[in-house]
Subunit: 150 residues, 2 copies
Amino acid sequence: MPEHPPAPARPGLDFAAWQAAGFDPARCPVRNVLDRIGDKWSMLMLTALAARHRRFGELFRVMPDISKRMLTQTLRDLERDGLVTRHVFPTKPPGVEYRLSPLGQSVLEPLSALVGWADRHFPDIEAARARFDAAQTGQPDTSLIEQDAA
Amino acid sequence: MPEHPPAPARPGLDFAAWQAAGFDPARCPVRNVLDRIGDKWSMLMLTALAARHRRFGELFRVMPDISKRMLTQTLRDLERDGLVTRHVFPTKPPGVEYRLSPLGQSVLEPLSALVGWADRHFPDIEAARARFDAAQTGQPDTSLIEQDAA
DNA sequence: CGGGATCCAGAACGATACTG
DNA sequence: CAGTATCGTTCTGGATCCCG
């Protein structure tokens, strides 16, 4: 395999125009959204709430290794961003239920695309990591040095 | 049940089956992938390389507020995972060029879906944040307390 | 049961200086 | 030009205790 062309500018992607427009580092939507769902638990939380609403305690069973602190905080943050709604039942021991809002439902679609990609290509990534790490401990493998500049 | 249905289990989403299968917390593909592109710069880096390959110095211009350290580290991590490839030209001052690998190209599609969602719904999120923060500083707004348990 | 408050360890990140 | 090395800071998240 010689090498892939210098990036064919795939159709349907407006990345070029998007980032060439010169974004403001601070109020970039991608930053804002990624800072939310990019943390350790938010994405898992959204998938946990995708099928149906859950009680606080239920979420512990679904997410085995989360701490109570992070469970609360993640839910608060998602609630603040309008992705989940909180419903309190003033019963004997109080019960609290969390649901995805319509906005939260709408993020499931792009999210499922990413999850699907992760599932399909995770073996590739693991293989790439193994190759890379092996190349570091062994000889540097200079086979991909180019011969001429652009 | 008078309120909106308990999550209609949207078509095309296998979240229920996926997370109900009882994932292993450690080797969960989502965790692994999110730990990579979920950091501060990886996603921006991928979009910067989407249109065409770039030199190291070019990436500074595209990403105004990244530090040299993080630029290097992010590129290394992406290279390790096989998403970008590194091409060295042994010219007078050495030149290094970064490209998306085929694997890296393939992630642009789910990524663009997420970026598109972020762009479209960012106003909604900002509005939700404003509402939430206003409710905290003002009176707690108990209007959404339910009247009966499940 | 469903939290909040506090403390602390480690990871992520930025700034700076030095190198081939 | 394209990094590496080191340091210091900030941020994240886990543990623990307390409360209605």
